[in-house]
């Protein structure tokens, strides 16, 4: 039961076209497979992407995300399945005739052409009149804030500037879909952060559909309306970032995105508890979608674990799930602190606390004994 239908409740902005049953998706990928020799890169994958989405393909290397992108662009031929854009089956359309443009990871700027000529390249292929091309080029360069650099050659630009030229070039033809292949991989951290917001802004203003491939989780979470998490050619979950983080559909997704504490147990008879975990009996807030006695897992994000010096009083509600633990390691990251703990039974756990005060004022110390707990609402129950 692949939980690929997100209900839009955790959408990023007020924009969740995938929940509207009357809307046709802009891009429909149906049962697409691609093999390279004995290796299956994309495995019977189906996906709908809607007009105006900023869609991210996220996954570890080798998961097939880049292959999928290249299939949409037309640089690879699918072994099975269809890709339909705006109602048109793309199988018969060669890459140079698809209304799709790509921004390459290496930028692929033509070294023998100037910046302006690079941006104009796609427009020249359309046979537009010279004046119109010049105007569009100027618009594009202004859009990416490179107005005065039209005459320069690519090797005379910095990495960030080259990336903008690549972006301008790929937007010049106003494609239905823009594909971005790890566009920020070559930028340093600060530039990456700025560029992410600029990309989101651009996408919203122009009303285009972007599909970005990235292996960087925080990048996907920052820019995307929806993320498709992939592993070994298959979709694991497709949902807005908050939903993927707070409602992962499997242990794999829970573990892949961010950090997580996992407790294995059996579903209790009453439907809201899990028995036999490393922390004993755990209470959860939502009804468990499994038979009593079935194997389930409880996932708790590190920031939802409450760390106190001593066990709470029995009448304190909201802290039912708890255990004693020893503080094993502390990593101070400025904005937050990561605590590595071990329960008396030897189970390793991770907790994160925001540093709202100074480090010296903290009550916990290395090797010290603490009490861990979390409220039932923080528990995510996973059945696979």
């Amino acid at each position: 039961m692949p939980a690929l239908e997100s209900n839009g409740a955790l959408a990023k902005r007020d924009f969740a076209p995938w929940t509207d049953r009357t809307l046709q998706p802009l891009l429909r990928i149906e049962g697409v497979s691609k093999r390279f020799g004995a290796f299956t890169a994309v495995d019977r994958l189906s996906l709908d992407i809607y007009q105006g989405e900023f869609f991210a393909l996220l996954g570890p290397s080798g998961c097939g995300k880049t292959t999928l992108l290249r299939l949409i662009a037309g640089f690879e031929q699918a072994g099975a399945g269809r890709i339909v854009l705006d109602g048109v089956d793309l199988a018969a359309v060669p890459p140079h005739r698809r209304p799709v443009n790509m921004m390459f990871q290496s930028y692929a700027l033509f070294p023998h052409l100037s910046v302006a000529a690079n941006v104009a390249f796609g427009l020249k292929q359309e046979g537009l009149p010279k004046a119109q091309i010049a105007e569009r080029v100027a618009d594009m360069l202004a859009l990416v804030k490179l107005e005065d650099l039209g005459r320069r050659k690519p090797h005379e630009l910095s990495g960030g500037q080259r990336q903008r030229v690549a972006l301008a070039r790929s937007l010049a033809k106003r494609p239905r879909v823009l594909l971005l292949d790890e566009p920020m991989a070559a930028l340093d951290k600060k530039l990456r952060g700025e560029t992410q917001f600029e990309l989101m802004d651009l996408q919203r203003r122009l009303g285009l559909t972007f599909i970005i491939v990235t292996h960087d989780q925080s990048e996907a979470m920052t820019v995307a309306d929806r993320i498709a998490v992939m592993d070994r050619g298959r979709l694991m979950q497709v949902a807005p970032p908050a939903e993927i983080y707070e409602q992962p559909n499997s242990r794999w997704v829970a573990d892949f995105i961010g950090s997580v504490n996992l407790f294995e147990g059996r579903a209790g008879d009453d439907g809201t508890s899990v028995e036999g975990t490393a922390l004993g009996r755990l209470r959860v807030a939502t009804k468990i979608a499994a038979e009593p006695g079935a194997a389930v897992w409880v996932a708790v994000r590190p920031e939802r674990l409450r760390v106190t010096a001593a066990a709470p009083a029995p009448d304190q509600t909201g802290l039912e799930n708890g255990a004693a633990a020893t503080l094993v390691d502390v990593a101070y990251l400025g904005g937050l602190t990561i605590l590595r703990l071990r329960t008396e039974a030897g189970v390793p756990l991770q907790a994160t606390i925001a540093n709202t005060g100074r480090l010296a004022d903290r009550a916990v110390s290395w090797g010290g004994k603490v009490w861990l707990s979390f409220p039932p609402e923080a528990a995510i129950v996973l059945t696979r």
């Binding site: 662009a73 037309g74 640089f75 060669p94 890459p95 140079h96 005739r97 799709v100 443009n101 790509m102 390459f104 290496s106 930028y107 692929a108 700027l109 033509f110 070294p111 023998h112 390249f121 796609g122 292929q125 359309e126 050659k153 690519p154 090797h155 005379e156 080259r162 070039r169 790929s170 033809k173």
Partner: protein, 266 residues
């Protein structure tokens, strides 16, 4: 750790000296006023003067130049096509034979290729002369062109071609507007190589030529068989000078185009 040890420097020095000394000796003796090598008669340019009067030699030079121009151009065209086919067309039927026919002539002894081409021309009753030499040289040189251009194509950044197609250029337009401009240095270099090979070839020309189409190497060879002579020294020195200038000019040109951003690596 790129240090140049004393041994390395000595090796380079001896190696370069070995390569250039014979040519230097040749050039020096072309200015020897005396006819005899044993006697140094002082500096003189009389042999260069006598060259100007040597009509058969000049005609042979002219013929060699025309053969070289034609065969180099044809070889560059054919060789480039062959390179594109080898690198970009995947595994087409007959590829093995094709690559064998490209690589074998590179190492095949010239007497064999010359002999075989001559026998072909005789078998199809074609009169040997200027054009048979051109065809023979084209065949020989296109393999060198193919190898050079192919090496450049293998190194070529494919994402540039993909980007061009992504922007709407058909495969043919992509090749003309993106690939070709960037591999021009390799094509130019192979044209020059084909030119030099043709100009220099003795064996194949000897087999495939006919009356009235004596090339310069054939003429030089017939003189040289009889022994060393100062006129020959003069001819050779001129050729060395011309070629040296051409190669230096070519390498300067390549440096210039590289500075203007022709390399494929972004």
């Amino acid at each position: 750790m790129r240090k140049l040890s004393a041994f390395n420097i000595a090796t380079l020095f001896v190696g370069v000296a070995f390569l250039y000394l014979p040519i230097a000796v040749l050039v020096v003796y072309s200015f020897n006023a005396s006819r005899l090598v044993a006697v140094w008669g002082g500096w003189s340019t009389r042999w260069y003067g006598e060259l100007a009067d040597d009509a058969p030699l000049l005609e042979a030079a002219f013929i060699s130049l025309r053969v070289a121009l034609l065969s180099a151009s044809a070889a560059t065209l054919l060789g480039t096509l062959a390179a594109v086919a080898l690198v970009r067309f995947g595994r087409f039927r007959g590829r093995l034979l094709f690559s064998a026919m490209i690589y074998a002539p590179l190492v095949m002894p010239e007497v064999i290729t010359g002999l075989s081409m001559l026998l072909l021309f005789v078998a199809i009753s074609v009169d040997r002369g200027f054009w048979t030499v051109v065809v023979a040289h084209t065949t020989m040189a296109m393999c060198f062109v193919a190898v050079i251009v192919q090496a450049r194509l293998v190194d070529f950044d494919m994402s540039l071609e993909e980007a061009a197609m992504d922007l709407g250029a058909s495969p043919a337009r992509t090749f003309m507007t993106v690939t070709l401009p960037l591999i021009v240095p390799a094509i130019a270099a192979s044209w020059m190589l084909a030119f030099a090979l043709s100009l220099d070839d003795l064996v194949i020309a000897s087999f495939t030529t006919g009356p009235g189409a004596t090339t310069l190497p054939i003429r030089i060879y017939s003189q040289v068989r009889l022994g060393v002579s100062p006129e020959m020294n003069a001819v050779c020195s001129i050729m060395v000078g011309v070629v040296g200038l051409a190669v230096i000019a070519a390498s300067l040109l390549t440096k210039l185009s590289a500075a203007r951003g022709a390399p494929a690596r972004v």
